[in-house]
Symmetry: C2
Subunit: 236 residues, 2 copies
């Protein structure tokens, strides 16, 4: 049972990275799916992902960034490790590990591309491998972290208003938030800086102050002392 004898007996393990790329559209939270070019499940839509390239990728995060860049053209998303999914059952080619990441981008970042489609995460998706489970895990993580952190800010455009941000939180949490409390908490978190200018929509009402995420929070999250949530449900 020495390491060397083990090394020789070991069946090759398939090492992949998959990315759950999410964005928020008016109709709801959307996940990016790519049409597979190769077997297995050739032609089916699945998560952007692929083999780790040891010569090219310094680590799994770099591999995830590479796949996002090469397959969707997105270069600077909010990206965080989700979990790893592994075992003999998930890939017909054999025992495999997928280190899954989730990425958040503003709706404006996405652009039409052959073989890329966006699906509603609440639709009854039929995805190859265990990608449905990976998507569900990512969505649960996003919704859970929306209860107490600045994570939803990464779904916003570069510049946005507090009412827009509140609507994003409300969509993710599935419930309305008290306006005064919401603004108190955002202020306490001290994650935003005011921006001059106006929203481009010219509408018959007072325009909202615009903000951007402070640069130091572009990859790091801020936690709210007591969260945004109303309900008493557990999560994560």
């Amino acid at each position: 049972m020495s390491l060397h004898s083990e090394g020789k007996n070991v069946t090759q393990i398939i090492c992949t990275v998959d990315v759950v790329l999410l964005t928020l559209q008016p109709q709801g939270l959307q996940v990016a799916l790519l049409q597979r070019e190769h077997e297995p499940y050739r032609g089916a839509y699945a998560l952007p992902g692929g083999f780790i390239h040891p010569q090219e990728d310094a680590n799994a995060r770099a591999a995830a960034m590479r796949m996002l860049r090469d397959k969707t053209g997105i270069a600077m998303p909010y990206l965080e490790q989700l979990a790893s999914f592994s075992g003999i059952a998930r890939d017909p080619r054999g025992w495999s590990v997928s280190i899954a990441y989730y990425a958040l981008v503003a709706a404006s970042v996405i652009q039409a591309q052959a073989g890329l489609r966006w699906a509603d995460v609440d639709a009854n998706l039929e995805l190859p491998f265990d990608h449905k489970q990976i998507v569900d895990t990512a969505v649960a993580r996003l919704r859970s972290k929306s209860q107490y952190s600045s994570l939803p800010c990464h779904l916003m455009e570069e510049v946005f208003s507090l009412p827009q941000l509140q609507r994003v939180y409300e969509t993710l949490l599935g419930e309305e938030i008290n306006k005064v409390s919401f603004r108190r908490k955002i202020t306490e978190m001290a994650i935003l800086q005011e921006v001059e200018g106006q929203t481009d929509e010219r509408s018959a009402h007072r325009p909202a102050q615009l903000y951007r995420l402070k640069p130091e929070f572009r990859q790091q999250l801020q936690m709210s002392a007591r969260g945004f949530r109303l309900g008493h449900d557990g999560a994560n």
Copy 2:
């Protein structure tokens, strides 16, 4: 750039599982370290872990359970995936992935064993690979989840009192908790069931009611609506 041509060019990736096994002793939170029997770092103390055995392990979680069982004799711990650590830099043998888990056990479960030692997690540990980072990540996760979940219950003995449980929470959070609030929250979470009997310590004061975790919470956590924490620090 077909999958098949990639498959042939791929350098072997080392797939391992490491377990951060934690228990709470009077002197603080302790992590289990095993003396390595093989190179690299032979003789050094490191996290229990090893190669995934595709023929033996249905998935990485099963591999973690196997390693705990075989290397420490612990069969039924609370076990949860922590994160994966990967890259070219972490193992001198080459590009590697470690799917890390953390496990919690009661202090009574641990028993002396050759090559196994317990180290204080707050000591300045020098560990091989990136095991220090893995331990730190696990401890941060445990402390973070202690702010709002039933996770610390898994460090308790089978039967315990509320004052004992409160002391565990206080140790993990590093601050005192209001007794009335603590008991209110534990009651709200509805995770405990009363147990007949007394603590074995015969002392000159009223004995505490004993409880055990309800069976349905042996692997699943319960979240507290608003958490136990006092401070406003973020975490995780």
